[in-house]
Each structure stands twice: as structure tokens, then as C-alpha cells.
């Protein structure tokens, strides 16, 4: 596979790449709003700060406490469980829905518009609506015994995790379907025509043409899910508030509690730094493992 790359040195002097000065406005923004706060958080994680008195430098105290904190372990685990649960539920449904929506069936446009509705609601509205629906005394569980039995969805650990996955999926499947719809539409028809001549059925066409062609979209969509999952906060705050107990107290929620409920900004900064590392690591890993960074196209050779 040979690709042509324009080399700086090969370019004539007049066509040299723009000077670094052009990047100054963008870089300045990035420095002030992204890099500086990050450095600030790293510094705060080395202090004890209650928000009233000046931060007190305590070295690695917060970090050694962090390593021995059972709540952090539980929060990390809960974050992981929610992340895996969300991807496992959302990815397959989004792909099927997206590919279906890319077709030209009757009523497709109308149904797609309906499927798309949940994305238009804010997370706060979604969470409050579902909390009412799932209320054990006045919501669905009190009316549909045959479905819920005597269980109390938001009151148990498994139930609360399942509810979070359900509600998040309900809200974000439309978004991911939209990505897949766009990607599926750009797959050349000739591929399917060729497959049909060769006698491939719809399932084989899906498995051997559609899915491989969607590879880059799958990576993009999964990256969104991973980053979204690591930073999910509003839905947990409003639907379960980390409960029951601390069962769904995922890392961002735990960070919020530490900073704004117990006013321990130093320790919260340590959690925030950990989250930053985790999210960066996950997205780098995802692009490396999937070969996404090679920037190859699925249309190569066509």
C-alpha cells in the first residue's frame, strides 16, 4: 500500500506551511480553557482546600488516600459496569436501526422521526420522567405486577444499574443510529449488486459488506459512548443520585459529591485527575487497537 505524502522539505519556499502565529488564537483558547484548568486541577490534587481558606500544600496525601479508598474502587467498578452495559445494549440496536433507516422502506421517514424523538429531550427532563414512571408506589411497577413482580427497580443495585442503562440507551440510541444511517447510506450500491449476483442473502450481505464498511463509524460511535460513559453525571444525579446507598455512585458523581457536598476540593481534584487519565487512556487505546489512527478508508481499492 503506497501512499503519497507531501513533504515539507519538498515544497517550494513560497508554499511553506503557515507559520505558528496563525495557531496563536486557537492555542490561546486551548491553553486558557483546557490546559490551565488541567494543570490547576493537578496542583489542587496535591493540596487540602475547603474553598474558604487558601489551599494548603499536602503533597501526595490525597493520592495515597485515593489508592486506599474503597469508595473509589466501588465507583470505578460501577463506572465500568455502566460503560460495558451501555455499549452492549446501544451498539447492536443502533447499528440495526441505523442500517434499517438508511434503506428506502415505506413509512421509513416517519418512523425514523419518531425514533429520533428521545434525543430532542434534555437529560434532566428524561431523568425526571423516568423516575416518575419507575416509582414503585405510583408508577408502572404498581400497575404492572406481572412484569415487575414485587421488585422495586430503582431501589436495588441491579435494578438501578439496569434502569440507568435503559434510560441512557433510550436517550442516545437515536444519536448513534443517526451516525450509522449516514455511514450506511454512503456504502456503494455496487457492492450489494455484486453480492446479489453471487447469491448472497440479506444476512450475509449485512455481515460481509455492511458491517466491515461501517468499521470506522463503529469506532467513532464507540469512542463517543466510552467518553460519554466516563463523564456521565446528570442522569445519575437525577435518576438515582448515586443510590441505593453508593451503588451507582460512578466516578464523576463521586467527584461532584466530594467537591460540592463535602467541600473537599483537593481530594475531588485527585478523582478528577484520575478520570482525565482514564478517559485519555481509553480513547487512545480505542484508536490504537482499532487501527483508526492509520486513517485508512474502507473504500480503498474500490
Amino acid at each position: 500500500m503506497s501512499r503519497v505524502r507531501v513533504r515539507d522539505r519538498a515544497a517550494p519556499p513560497t508554499l511553506e506551511r503557515p507559520g505558528v502565529a496563525w495557531a496563536v488564537p486557537g492555542l490561546l483558547f486551548f491553553l486558557v480553557f483546557a490546559v490551565a484548568p488541567m494543570v490547576g486541577v493537578l496542583y489542587l490534587s496535591l493540596t487540602h482546600w475547603d474553598g474558604l481558606n487558601p489551599p494548603e500544600f499536602t503533597g501526595l496525601d490525597n493520592w495515597s488516600r485515593f489508592l486506599g479508598d474503597s469508595q473509589v474502587r466501588q465507583s470505578t467498578l460501577a463506572t465500568g459496569v455502566l460503560l460495558v452495559g451501555n455499549i452492549a445494549v446501544q451498539a447492536p440496536i443502533s447499528i440495526l436501526l441505523g442500517v434499517w433507516a438508511a434503506g428506502s422502506q415505506r413509512n421509513r421517514a416517519v418512523l425514523s422521526a419518531i425514533f429520533f424523538l428521545p434525543l430532542l429531550l434534555s437529560t434532566a427532563a428524561t431523568a425526571i420522567m423516568w423516575r416518575q414512571l419507575l416509582d414503585p408506589n405510583f408508577g408502572l411497577p404498581s400497575k404492572f405486577d406481572w412484569l415487575f413482580g414485587s421488585s422495586n427497580p430503582l431501589g436495588t443495585q441491579q435494578g438501578a444499574v439496569a434502569c440507568l442503562v435503559l434510560v441512557t440507551s433510550w436517550q442516545f440510541i437515536p444519536f448513534h443510529s443517526l451516525l450509522y444511517q449516514g455511514a450506511a447510506r454512503s456504502i456503494p450500491h455496487t457492492l450489494y449488486q455484486a453480492a446479489e449476483i453471487d447469491g448472497a442473502g440479506r444476512v450475509r450481505q449485512f455481515l460481509h459488506i455492511t458491517l466491515p464498511q461501517l468499521r470506522n463509524t463503529i469506532i467513532t460511535s464507540t469512542t463517543f459512548m466510552v467518553i460519554g460513559g466516563l463523564t456521565a453525571f446528570d442522569i445519575v444525579l437525577l435518576l438515582t443520585n448515586g443510590g441505593p446507598g453508593t451503588d451507582t455512585s460512578i466516578l464523576p458523581f463521586s467527584m461532584y459529591q466530594t467537591a460540592f457536598r463535602t467541600y473537599d476540593y483537593g481530594y475531588a481534584s485527585a478523582i478528577a485527575s484520575f478520570l482525565l487519565l482514564l478517559a485519555t487512556g481509553a480513547s487512545v487505546l480505542l484508536t490504537k487497537l482499532s487501527g483508526y489512527d492509520k486513517m485508512s478508508s474502507t473504500l480503498e481499492g474500490l
Binding site: V20, A36, G40, P136, G243, G245, D247, T262, Y263
Partner: protein
């Protein structure tokens, strides 16, 4: 090119960090010195009594003894805003608060002024305790009292042919009676944001078993008192209550208020609820007829063999106004006098509040429900001690983890023994 940009990058990053850090610390310097008279910023919580406060502020401003400008702040995030404000150069001159531990940090940071003890004679002594930190008066009552007691559904009790509990044994017996009838004995809000309703049970049981002194010591800084046998006994009693179905099966996702515990009570799905005096106002909003004729109330029963007086009360003694070092002293001192004026007290009573001023009793006849108002006033004025809600008394730093542990106990995620050791470990 590369090298230049990297160096430039590093310098700018360092400069930006310094600016941010410096801005963060800016507030820690000395505060503005107090002048004789002048304008005071007064932060208050958004609630139905704002109109009473506004009237007080307006009439004060017309006297020429200084000027007070009142900012009304929504209750969600009030504490966060206050905390941020107190750590910045935009510190208010006076502010509404919950007393107790919420003031601790501010006193330690030297942000509050000690108030004139001559003010004390105008208020009920049990309501003043939470306005003091280390014996110094830093908060003056500005609202009604909010004791916690048992509310019950009169019709459900009449149908079952039983009386409200006078002793803890009565209470245990009622659990059996109502459970047998398929009614939840006690509505309880156990979802993660309502753990404070579970805390009320812990507060009352500890008070009845060991007396108010135990928590006094804890609040005073002696965290080892959690190892007291009364705390373990309380945790065991809670476990028994939960296991015997006193709170039903679903409390883990029930929230407080309309659509939650209050609806359970007025629909007769639950017989009782342990709640603060504001429950009456909630019922009035949700089910006015029930509030008028169906809602009963009674003090929390005594526990047989316990050291605590059954007349003791827990809850929020009241809310307070505190004065910071930025406020002109004379203006603030003059303004605080309006909080026990007849017009202010009467305004509160008309809003359904039960003020904690000594002159309130004779004005209570003008309340919308004089019987309920008098019940509350007597409960508070006759109480040998009024323990402030623990989460408020301890402040959020200790109160938040405590609430989490209480929730785990109620949910059966930790045993009574684990509860005691987990709570003991909150402060090292």
C-alpha cells in the same frame, strides 16, 4: 519553529496557571474593615416568607439607620453559592443559614462577627443553641421552628381502632397491626437524595436511648462517642424496624413530598410518617381537605429504659441570620432587632410559621390553624433540649458521609456493627 513554539507554550501555560492560582487565593487576604453605618448586602433563601422579610427591609431602610439590600437566592444551590461567596471578595454582609456546623467553617476562617448577647432575651433558649459556635453567638433566629414529630392518618387509625403511639412498645405493636392490614406502617423516603428522612429516626432513637448529651459531645468534636452502646443499639433497632416491614418494601426508591411519602400518607397507603413540621404545608398544598381534617400529629414516643427525656425534640430549631466581617456593624446590629419585632413575628405567623421569639405565643391565635401552631410552640418551648438535625449540626463535610452510611444501614447493605465502625471512621 518547533522549538520556539514549545518554549512559548510552556511560558504561557505557566503564566496562565499562576493567574488562575492567584485569582483563587485572592480572597484569603484581610477583609474590608467595618465602618459605622452604610449599606449591607443581605442574602436570603427563596421561600414564602420573603415578602415578610422584604417588608422588614423596606421599613428599616426608611428609618435612616443605614441601608440593607436583600438578594433572594433559589434554594437549590444556595449553600454552594454562599460557600463560594464567603471564599471570595464578594462576601455578603448578612446571610440566611441553618446554624450549627454550617457556620463552623466560617467561624474558623474568621468570617463572622460575634453578636450582642443582649439579643438572646428575645428568643426561646432551645432555639438559640444552634446559633452559637464555641459558645459565641453568631446567628439570630429569623424564621419559624421546625421540630420533627409523628404525623398520622386519622382515618386509617380510626379504621384500625388504634391510638397513636405513646411508647416505643406501642409503636412496635402498631407496626404489626398495620402490616396485618396491608398498610405500610411508616412512609419513609429512602432514595439516595432523601437519606435525611432516615436520619430523623436515628436522631430520635439515640436521643431517647442516651439523651441529647451523646450527640452534644460528638458535635463538640469527640468523634469516639459513636462507639457508645446507644449508637449500636439504635442501629439494631433500625434493622429490626426495617426487617419487620415497618417501612414497607419499596422505601429504597421513594422520595420525600408530593408523589412520595406525603401522598402515601394522605391516600392511606401508609399510616404514619416521621417528618418535620413543614409536612403540614406540603399536605396543605397537595391534599387541602386531608390537611384540615385527616392529618393527626403527636410527639415521638419515649423508649422504655432509655436515659433521654421523652419531651426532647430534634429537628431544625429555626433558621438564622449571621453577620460577616464586611458588614457595617451598626447597620447590621440595628437590622437584627427587626427579627423579633411584633410586625415581623406576626408576618411569619400569617405565613404558617411558628416563630421562636418570646412574644410569639400570644400572637399564635392569629395563625391559620391555631391548634397546630400551639402544638408546635408548646412542643418546642417545653422541650428540655432541641437537638439540631445532625447533618446541619455537623456541617456537610461530616454530614454527607454520615447520611451515606445511614442509607446503607436502612438498605441492609451494612449491618449495625458495620454501621458503627464505618461512622466512627468518617473522621480520623
Amino acid at each position: 519553529m518547533n522549538r520556539v513554539s514549545r518554549r512559548w507554550f510552556l511560558t504561557t501555560a505557566a503564566a496562565a496557571t499562576l493567574t488562575v492560582t492567584a485569582a483563587g487565593c485572592g480572597s484569603s487576604g484581610s477583609s474590608t474593615s467595618s465602618s459605622a453605618t452604610g449599606s449591607v448586602d443581605f442574602w436570603t433563601l427563596q421561600d414564602p416568607t420573603n415578602s415578610v422579610q422584604k417588608t422588614a427591609v423596606d421599613s428599616f431602610n426608611s428609618t435612616g439607620k443605614g441601608k440593607v439590600s436583600m438578594s433572594v437566592i433559589a434554594s437549590d444551590g444556595y449553600k454552594d453559592k454562599l460557600r463560594t461567596g464567603m471564599g471570595s471578595s464578594k462576601m455578603p454582609g448578612m446571610f440566611f443559614n441553618w446554624g450549627g456546623g454550617s457556620l463552623n467553617d466560617f467561624v474558623k476562617a474568621g468570617k463572622l462577627v460575634t453578636l450582642d448577647t443582649a439579643l438572646e432575651s428575645h428568643f426561646l433558649p432551645s432555639a438559640l443553641a444552634a446559633g452559637k459556635v464555641d459558645g459565641k453567638l453568631v446567628g439570630i433566629p429569623c424564621r419559624g421552628t421546625q421540630p420533627v414529630f409523628l404525623f398520622y392518618n386519622k382515618k386509617v387509625f380510626a379504621d384500625a381502632g388504634v391510638e397513636p403511639p405513646k411508647t416505643y412498645a406501642d409503636l412496635q405493636n402498631l407496626v404489626k397491626v398495620f402490616k396485618g392490614k396491608g398498610i405500610t406502617p411508616f412512609a419513609l423516603a429512602g432514595n439516595a437524595s432523601s437519606a435525611w428522612t432516615e436520619l430523623m429516626w436515628v436522631e430520635y432513637l439515640v436521643d431517647r436511648l442516651a439523651g441529647p448529651e451523646l450527640f452534644d459531645k460528638i458535635q463538640g468534636g469527640d468523634w469516639t462517642q459513636w462507639k457508645d452502646p446507644a449508637v449500636l443499639k439504635t442501629a439494631q433497632m433500625i434493622k429490626e424496624l426495617v426487617d419487620s416491614g415497618a417501612f414497607g418494601k419499596n422505601f429504597g426508591s421513594v422520595s420525600y413530598g408530593a408523589g412520595g411519602t406525603s401522598t402515601l400518607l394522605n391516600k392511606g397507603k401508609a399510616a404514619m410518617v416521621l417528618m418535620g413540621s413543614w409536612e403540614y404545608a406540603v399536605q396543605q398544598g397537595e391534599a387541602p381537605d386531608f390537611a384540615k381534617s385527616g392529618l393527626g400529629y403527636v410527639a415521638f414516643p419515649g423508649v422504655e429504659g432509655g436515659k433521654g427525656d421523652a419531651a426532647n425534640v430534634v429537628g431544625n430549631p429555626t433558621n438564622y441570620i449571621s453577620v460577616t466581617t464586611t458588614a457595617p456593624k451598626d447597620t447590621a446590629a440595628e437590622f437584627l432587632k427587626t427579627t423579633y419585632s411584633d410586625s415581623y413575628v406576626q408576618g411569619l405567623i400569617e405565613k404558617g410559621e411558628v416563630p421562636v421569639t418570646t412574644n410569639a405565643k400570644q400572637l399564635l391565635a392569629k395563625a391559620s390553624d391555631p391548634a397546630y401552631a400551639t402544638f408546635q410552640f408548646d412542643l418546642v418551648s417545653k422541650a428540655p433540649s432541641f437537638t439540631q438535625s445532625w447533618d446541619q449540626a455537623l456541617g456537610l463535610t461530616l454530614g454527607t458521609p454520615l447520611l451515606t452510611e445511614i442509607q446503607k444501614l436502612f438498605n441492609g447493605q451494612s449491618t449495625p456493627e458495620q454501621f458503627v465502625s464505618a461512622v466512627s471512621a468518617i473522621k480520623k
